[in-house]
Symmetry: C2
Subunit: 246 residues, 2 copies
Amino acid sequence: MEETETREGSASGESDVEQVSEAQAHHYDASKYERPSVTVDVVMMSLRQRDLQVLLVKRRSWPYEGMWAIPGGFVNMDESLETAAKRELQEETNVQDVYLEQLYTFGDPGRDPRTRVITVVYFALLDSERLQVKAGDDAANVGWFSVYHLPDLAFDHAKILQYTLDRLRGKLQYTQIAFNLLPEQFTLRELQRVYEIILHRRLDKRNFRKKILSTGILEDTGAKKMEGTHRPARLYRFNPAAETKL
Amino acid sequence: MEETETREGSASGESDVEQVSEAQAHHYDASKYERPSVTVDVVMMSLRQRDLQVLLVKRRSWPYEGMWAIPGGFVNMDESLETAAKRELQEETNVQDVYLEQLYTFGDPGRDPRTRVITVVYFALLDSERLQVKAGDDAANVGWFSVYHLPDLAFDHAKILQYTLDRLRGKLQYTQIAFNLLPEQFTLRELQRVYEIILHRRLDKRNFRKKILSTGILEDTGAKKMEGTHRPARLYRFNPAAETKL
DNA sequence: ATACTAAGTGTGTAATTGACACTAATCAAG
DNA sequence: CTTGATTAGTGTCAATTACACACTTAGTAT
């Protein structure tokens, strides 16, 4: 039946990743193995014009020339995946210190006709107030698109964006991810709008406020926001100290 | 303020992954870029002896020689990441058709002293009834360990296992992932035990049964399971047709 | 028949979710 | 300075869900 017995170790074991199958590790020779290219793609999303939008770039060469795609680039040999994602973010926008999360790694052979490319996809949420597409970039080749009205996309980037949206919606329920799309101070209505735009359905104002306020993650700044000819709204600030599960 | 205007496309765009940054794509030459090695590691978990256990292999060479590690190996140029994970699974155990999920990709430079290695970690759940460690493997170098009493691990595999356990616990709540650890037919008590072992706490028998049965994902087989000198338990079968959210 | 063991079952309470409509504060226009 | 327009802000009830908790049932062994 079972060849191996159960073992118990003492614990711990802290160091670094990577592992190579026994047979190969035994006679290791890096040069023996042909290596794939590794890229990072970054799905950058932001709320603009009361819409959830994603930054895309227009491809200028084969393959999929002229089609829109998720921005990405090669991982340098001396940088981490996250660093590469941040660099990509920096190259396309001017923002730093944004929410950045690894999403998924796609690596089927033959997906890129040029060579074997494995791509690690990251996902970034940007506060549109701080946002500014990098000047100097050819505006015709970079653009924000509503996730609800996407153009034809290169590779299977449409699938990746769908996956991203699903993940964002999931995380919205049990994390505080939404605050990354808002400036430091915001009104409850603005926060509710974030949820409504992402979930793509209306929420009840009273229930929403009750729920958010009951968690204690919001701090009243005392300030108010006047916008238009009506009653001003309280401005709140996110309080990360209050560790709650939404 | 904003350099780019919002665009709207028509939709669709189905094809494949991979994307290369504009500047690079424009003057593409694959040979120009030094490439990292890419491996897949597979965290294989199973319930054995009323414990949640993970398969580890003992490293036979530098680095971390003699330490236990998550099994893994290089991705061949012509196979997908998932295929590589399945191959690894096949090499270590004899099972096929198991639950397999991509977990996370680790790729910090310098983590493997031999060369730059990016590893895509998969996560497999095995039904211990079908399970059998591959004969011919040196038993001293492969073993099952309780996730609650791990030995010292190579690289940062301890962190990866912690991450895996967190993910498993999370998914247990809102998916039907637990059934992958059981044979086709099982009793409610056995199912409850799966939850208890993974969550590492006792659950109330009545509430557990009420909840599971109310979802309709279980089908009574009519058969009963006698085990010991007491009342026999009904045997159930998982009914994937009943699309429910646990 | 009796003792032993795990299977199987229901009720009451607390907490959570969701539906739903009016009053309050400000500005603009007359 | 009153009126209208507009969005901010607030509470209650009902249904559902979560959780705590203890006895009866069906089988085996002696």
